[in-house]
Symmetry: C3
Subunit: 131 residues, 3 copies
């Protein structure tokens, strides 16, 4: 019993290894790296970068919602992308999903990602009942 | 109205996309990835790694200051660098700017960065009025 | 005097540059990137990825312990790995060391690491006396 809660939601893929979708400690939600898998865990091969970004961010926001937050209460997102030329597409999808919310953000190029995906996102959010 | 504040300071480049320079929640400041741009947003092409590190870290510290912190109240910095052979130069500039402050830090090699830059930094700091 | 504590423990390698092993602010411990060095600071060349993962994570957990936490109070770990094919080995060692604890986690491929190492880990934990 540590007071740390783990998020488990069917709205995002179940963890593929020894970790939780997110941990919650007091007012903060710490979200694990999300890949562009279907919430069922099925891969969606051959989709565009833009669709991958939408799927990964949707998974992240589903976990935030399960932890009691929303796009408006996300403090920071880190996006790991294969190919910095995908920055404009990532930014476009990010704007579409976050609307009026503008969290802190870092976009970090990587040489590859698990299963050949092109984008992974993690982040930190506040529980909505605390803001 | 979420209680989350966004930092906007002319002391660092305006966000190039859908994000804030930093978000502030209670006592913590979450700083977005900072590239070695002039605060005006102008690129400074052809500068050395060392000058790029100084510019990126100066942008980060300007945002920290706008959020009510200082080098002394930075908890953690993550630096994304192209070429780990630049570690000594990064460390030298970091020491120069942080002086007696020794935050937690991770230096993460990346294959490339936006616009051909060689270093990006983000981090977390405490509001000085809270420490 | 900022109220921010720095961790210094002989249970993990001394910082190689201008940073602390970790900073502690109120209930949170911010851990610096840990490489697979011996706590003495000596490199252990030629060890397998699995042994490198064990060493890096053991260093991280020693710092967490020095800050008043434990595997159970780790909120998030980010692992930077050279070669995503090492994911299964990383996950195996992670499970071995974290047991019932399942923090949030992101595994981020990188092109290289300092000194030719294959894995680096950082993270955030809660002080055990606060949970």
């Amino acid at each position: 019993m540590t007071g740390i809660e783990r998020i488990e939601t069917a709205g995002a893929p179940a963890p593929a290894g020894h970790y939780s979708q997110a941990t919650v400690w007091r007012d903060l939600i710490w979200i694990s790296g999300q890949l562009p898998k279907e919430p069922s865990g099925n891969p969606r091969p051959g989709v565009s970068f833009e669709d991958q970004a939408r799927l990964a961010l949707t998974n992240l926001l589903a976990i935030v919602a399960a932890g009691g937050g929303s796009a408006d209460t996300v403090l920071k997102v880190t996006a790991y992308v294969v190919g910095i030329e995908n920055w404009p597409a990532f930014n476009r999808v990010f704007a579409e999903l976050f609307r009026d919310a503008r969290p802190a953000r870092a976009v970090v190029p990587v040489p590859e990602l698990h299963h050949g995906y092109l984008v992974e996102v993690d982040g930190i959010a506040v529980r909505a009942d605390r803001v």
